[in-house]
């Protein structure tokens, strides 16, 4: 299978794994890192560190400038408007937790939060717990038989009671990308805040938050070839003022006495404590580097890999979940437990994910105990796919 990746050479981690006879097909869990990310991190620490937004000394100014430059550059990458806000978080999970708590005071008993049936626990549990605590209704928007969100049905579910519509742009199990704009537009009209979980989607297509026209958008750096422990919460100008401060501590206050305090507006008011400055700077450098590449060529390469995996699985009679069209494919072998298959793939140095993929309700609704998932990134190549299929064939032979 001749599908070389011209970008593979920029990822020392994928080359190191190859030396260890490991084929990485679990990028939806976390992506390998490009050299530029590793170099930026190392340079940041080597030049001497300082805290941001606190000190008047020169190292502090330098750190603050680098930190705020990273914020602007990440906002550029999201194609945000100058008035929009980028808040740094620990990741998508924290971003959604922030929203569920910082918006909570707007909701009354009986108000509705709408999510899809295929949400990752990160975009389910914060809303579920909020709904339980405040007596709200959590409406779960169903999928059709292809595992795609039924947009028309979803739009019909909206009412004046709908307060939040929170949807993943790409399911981490089904791997299907679809246009959410009509739903977001209808939700806005109904007066609901719209939240897009971009954790899986952002790495496969640069987000355009203007075009998407959502109120909030979250993503995680580590799935975007960036460092661990950093994420972004994007908020539109009109939505950011609806957020109430949710975590408290250093550098988020304007004035403070023993009994009361006044807080800074976003973003700083939502970033208490010392931020992950080095990682944020390295994340911005990673995104700058990504933007310097031919995104069309990357998308086409990933689509070819995806098609090759899909075809190979279909030829072998594997049961594929839904009709995936992007980045990842989940499947089971008939009559074989997913963990048996995963164990034998692991024995052969193939790193795929097995289990419920942090989407237990989705798997339960499909009547599945679990599934295997192959997920792809720009550095994968035809050899990876070939290795996966020869390992799969061996495993199936042993287990059948």
């Amino acid at each position: 299978m001749f599908l070389p990746s011209p970008w593979r050479q920029f990822f020392p981690g994928i080359l190191a794994l190859a030396e260890q006879q490991q084929t990485w097909l679990d990028s939806a869990a976390t992506a390998q890192k490009p050299q530029v990310m590793i170099d930026t991190l190392s340079q940041y620490y080597q030049q001497g560190v300082a805290n941001v937004h606190r000190a008047q000394h020169q190292p502090g100014e330098r750190a603050t400038r680098a930190f705020e430059a990273a914020r602007s550059s990440i906002a550029d990458w999201l194609q945000a408007d100058a008035n929009d806000t980028v808040i740094f978080t620990k990741g998508s999970t924290e971003g959604i937790n922030l929203l569920s708590q910082a918006l909570a005071h707007h909701f009354q008993a009986g108000d509705e939060i709408l999510i899809s049936a295929y949400e990752h626990h990160a975009n389910l549990l914060p809303w579920q717990q909020l709904a339980r605590a405040r007596d709200l209704t959590l409406k779960v928007l169903p999928m059709d038989k292809h595992g795609h969100l039924d947009i028309d049905y979803a739009i019909r579910q909206l009412s004046t009671r709908s307060k939040v519509v929170a949807i993943s742009a790409l399911s981490n199990v089904i791997g299907h990308r679809q246009s959410l704009q009509p739903l977001l537009a209808a939700a806005r009209k109904a007066g609901a805040w719209t939240v897009i979980d971009g954790a899986q989607a952002a790495v496969h297509q640069r987000p355009n938050v203007q075009q998407l026209d959502c109120d909030f958008f979250v993503c995680s750096a580590h799935k975007l070839y960036g460092p661990d422990g950093v994420g972004v919460l994007f908020a539109r100008q009109h939505a950011v003022t609806a957020l109430r401060h949710w975590q408290f501590g250093g550098e988020m206050v304007r004035r403070c006495d023993y009994q009361q305090a006044e807080f800074l507006p976003a973003p700083l008011g939502f970033e208490p404590g010392t931020p992950s400055t080095a990682n944020i700077v390295a994340f911005a450098a990673t995104l700058d580097w990504l933007q310097s590449l031919d995104s069309q060529a990357i998308a086409e390469h990933e689509a070819r890999l995806h098609a090759a995996v899909l075809t190979g699985l279909q030829e072998r009679g594997m049961q594929i979940i839904g009709s995936p069209n992007c980045a990842l494919i989940s499947f089971n072998a008939p009559q074989i437990h997913h963990s048996d298959l995963a164990l034998l793939l692991g024995e052969q140095g193939v790193a795929v994910r097995a289990g419920h993929h942090c989407a237990m309700p989705l798997l339960q609704s499909l009547g599945l105990a679990g599934a295997l998932r192959v997920s792809l990134a720009m550095y994968n190549n035809g050899d990876d796919i070939q290795h996966f299929f020869s390992a799969l064939d061996q495993a199936l032979e042993i287990l059948q």
Binding site: H337, S339, L343, L344, L399
Partner: protein
């Protein structure tokens, strides 16, 4: 390792004779197939082992002398690992069971990697539940 039963010594010999992972996997499947089926009636939520993504049921038969664990798993390779675990502790009393160095046992069999602390493999969670059941006993 001292104190291995004859059957356990034979298993060590069989696994150590495996040259390749395929042979080890096939042997593990054979061991799994030998594990006594746990009746459906005993596959209750109470008997489920928490903390593994694959469903595993574990019971301690309080009446049996010597003590006897019963296990079941939906996954065949995990069933093999569980059968090998039971092989090691069968016939021991509670105190001896707790003292068994399970890591050493699986290392002898060339199956160390299956004892990972990761949630995906149920074996570690099974060991914890076994200890808890023995402590209650």
């Amino acid at each position: 390792m001292s104190g291995l039963s004859r059957a356990a010594q034979q298993a060590v010999h069989d696994f150590q004779s495996c040259q390749q992972w395929e042979q080890r996997a096939r042997l593990l499947l054979q061991w799994g197939a030998q594990l006594d089926e746990l009746p459906e009636a005993l596959r209750t939520p109470d008997n489920l082992v928490h903390g593994c993504e694959t469903r595993v049921w574990l019971l301690l038969d309080q009446q049996a002398d010597p003590l006897c664990f019963q296990v079941a798993s939906e996954a065949r390779l995990l069933r093999g690992l569980l059968a090998l675990l039971l092989l090691r502790i069968t016939g021991l009393n509670a105190k001896q069971m707790v003292e068994v160095d399970v890591a050493e046992w699986f290392a002898l069999l060339g199956l160390s990697r299956q004892l990972s602390p990761s949630r995906s493999n149920g074996l570690t969670a099974v060991l914890l539940k076994m200890q808890a059941l023995l402590a209650q006993n």
